[in-house]
């Protein structure tokens, strides 16, 4: 029985050495094989943008259209838009993740249900209405828009933080405590790192939500790509509307794509 053991271990070691060498050789090929699907979306977007560009070039644009579609105008509105989405997502991160962590602690579990219900309620409210009402209540402008966007996107991150922490294998927490980690060390070194992929997935949802909803911010004077749509409608220029729609869709898709890439990196890092 025991005489067979050293041999078995030897063959195991040899096998694994070969395995490692094989991995090094085909590292790039493997990366391509695992993630080739990430190339599809940008390829489609670039193709559509080229088609749109060619189409606009073949149109005779009047001076109004040229002014609205000038790179300065579009670029400025795009930056405003991204800034709104970014600020509100960061706020969501700062509020929802710590709140989710607190809610998952033993003493606060009873509050979990009610708080998640309130989050669900906030998400169910139509963002357009909330933005308008908040603008009358607070003020028209960027601050109000950011607060409104933040409220609407809290739930996915809050819920994913709670769920992410809940689904950490209890035996790992027990192992950590059994080795002498304090409950704080267990939280920061085991529970949170293992919940990160789920939390990041929630953040991705919040970010995409915010990029979409930020289009409505122009109605309360906070700018963004919604402004481009409004200009097109006001001026009754169908070419501008086409470009505005394409830019908004492209931004949403690209942000989602980028967040997806980040998510994959995080997941692959956290085992």
């Amino acid at each position: 029985m025991s005489t067979a053991t050293p041999e078995t271990i030897n063959t195991q070691a040899q096998e694994t050495v070969e395995e490692v060498e094989g991995k090094k050789e085909s590292g790039l090929a493997r990366l391509w094989q695992q993630h080739y699907d990430l190339v599809i979306l940008p390829a489609i977007i670039i193709l559509l943008l080229i088609l749109l560009f060619v189409y606009i070039q073949t149109r005779d644009l009047d001076t109004i259209e040229e002014r609205v579609l000038a790179a300065d105008n579009v670029w400025g509105l795009l930056r405003q838009h991204l800034w709104l989405a970014f600020l509100s997502t960061v706020l969501v991160l700062i509020i929802a993740v710590p709140l989710g962590i607190v809610l998952s602690r033993r003493g606060a579990r009873k509050a979990q249900g009610p708080v998640l219900a309130i989050g669900g309620f906030a998400q169910a409210l139509p963002p357009f209405g909330v933005l308008l009402l908040m603008a009358f209540w607070l003020d028209f402008g960027v601050t109000t828009a950011v607060i409104g966007l933040t409220l609407a996107a809290l739930l996915p991150v809050l819920r994913n933080t709670v769920i992410g922490l809940q689904q950490v294998d209890q035996s790992l927490i027990e192992a950590a405590r059994g080795m002498g980690m304090s409950s704080r060390q267990t939280l920061f070194r085991v529970e949170i790192p293992l919940a990160v992929p789920v939390i990041v997935a929630g953040l991705r949802v919040a970010l995409v939500l915010n990029v979409g909803t930020a289009t409505l911010a122009s109605y309360i004077g906070a700018g963004g790509l919604g402004e481009l749509v409004q200009q097109a409608l006001r001026l009754n220029r169908i070419n501008v509307l086409l470009v505005a729609g394409a830019v908004i869709a492209t931004v949403a898709l690209l942000i989602d794509w980028l967040a997806g890439v980040v998510e994959r990196v995080v997941v692959s890092r956290s085992g």
Partner: protein
């Protein structure tokens, strides 16, 4: 580290100088909302270097008892002493860093490399990086995993058996005198489990830890334990060495629990070296002798290859099976059944024939021993 000067003075011989490393005094656990205690008034002593197997049906309090030793579960009343020191009220986190802890599947952190997993406790104890790394390599070597191959891997890249080996290495990291093991081999396939158990005993021979080991597998308890503690609904029913538990169960509960097959399980406790074996001849001239000694044909290195002569049987029709003398009667029975042979040649470490064990001898031999006991 566990050499309490007072106690070594009382017990002068160093070989028998076993101090009481783990002492439970009147320990009781009543869970909040529970009516009857999960563990009631438990007194138990584990001596230095012993492996004690805690066994019993589920809900019997064996796991609760184990977790009270490192205070993962706080006892409701009673005292726990480690190396003579009362640890019932010391800081639990600091206490647990001094006690090795192994759980089912190893409980490795999936986001840590193997080396980082092993280094968890050393880092908490403030070891420097170099020392932690060296210790991880040393321990990987001890549990039979090549450090250069495994130290930078992640647990998911290892098989269940390999993960469990790392789990044991991790518990040994800070060289704790006491180890607690909670069904460590429970979720592993039988063949790997058997090998891990052998390796575990091998490791224990070099490290000599004081070990409390929870299992639900009687076979495992008999194989690994210096002593077996049989639990039933919060009470210790019998606490004795495996042979005593199997042959003289303290009460109906224990005999029910041990159940049928106790005689077969005892076979694995009988070492072949302790048996009186029948003589065996390797000399060709002995063929045709009338004293009933079997003759075996050997190769150049002295290893038996086939039967040359068997009294009262056709030698060519009987397969030659061998068993190492370091094995147990259980192993001998195993090879006899496997080879469909009614006798087995017992060989020493060099493969030379030392004697013969007959199927019939075995049965009568066991009977005599039982009468002796």
């Amino acid at each position: 580290m566990s050499d309490n000067p007072d106690q070594t003075a009382v017990v002068p011989e160093p070989g028998a100088g076993q101090t009481d490393t783990i002492v439970l005094e009147g320990v009781e656990k009543i869970y909040p909302g529970g009516t009857s205690p999960a563990v009631s008034q438990l007194d138990m002593t584990i001596k230095q270097g012993e492996i004690v197997m805690l066994i019993g049906p589920s809900g019997c309090g064996k796991t609760t008892t184990l977790k009270m030793i490192n205070r993962l579960i706080e006892p409701t009343s009673g005292r726990i002493l480690l190396d003579g020191k009362d640890v019932t009220h010391v800081n639990g986190d600091l206490l647990r860093r001094q006690i090795g802890y192994v759980i089912q599947q190893g409980g490795l952190f999936p986001h840590f490399t193997i080396a980082d997993n092993i280094g968890v406790v050393p880092r908490m104890l403030g070891w420097d990086k170099q020392k932690t790394k060296e210790r991880a390599d040393e321990l990987l070597h001890l549990v039979g995993l090549e450090p250069s191959t495994f130290r930078d891997r992640y647990p998911r890249q290892l098989s269940g058996g390999q993960q469990q080996r790392v789990g044991v290495a991790r518990a040994l990291a800070a060289n704790p005198p006491v180890m607690l093991m909670d069904e460590p081999f429970g979720a592993i396939d039988p063949i790997t489990r058997d090998r891990l158990q052998d390796e575990f005993l091998e490791i224990q021979r070099t490290v000599g830890k004081t070990i409390a080991f929870v299992t639900h597998d009687l076979q495992e308890a008999v194989k690994l334990g210096d002593k077996i503690a049989v639990f039933a609904t919060g009470k210790l029913e019998q606490y004795a060495d495996p042979e005593t538990v199997l042959t003289r169960p303290a009460n109906d509960f224990v005999s029910d629990f041990v159940g049928g097959g106790a005689a077969v399980r005892r076979l694995s406790l009988l070492e072949l070296a302790r048996l009186e074996l029948h003589p065996i001849e390797t000399d060709e001239k002995a063929v045709g002798n009338s004293n009933g000694t079997p003759v075996v044909e050997i190769d150049a290195s002295g290893k038996p290859v086939s039967w040359r002569h068997l009294p009262g049987a056709d030698a060519s029709g009987v397969a030659l099976v061998t068993v190492p003398i370091s094995g147990t009667v259980y192993d001998a029975v195993d090879v006899m059944l496997d080879g469909a042979a009614s006798l087995v040649a017992v060989v020493d470490d060099d493969g030379r024939a030392q004697g013969v064990l007959h199927w019939n001898d075995l049965v009568s031999g066991l009977r005599t021993r039982e009468r002796d006991a």
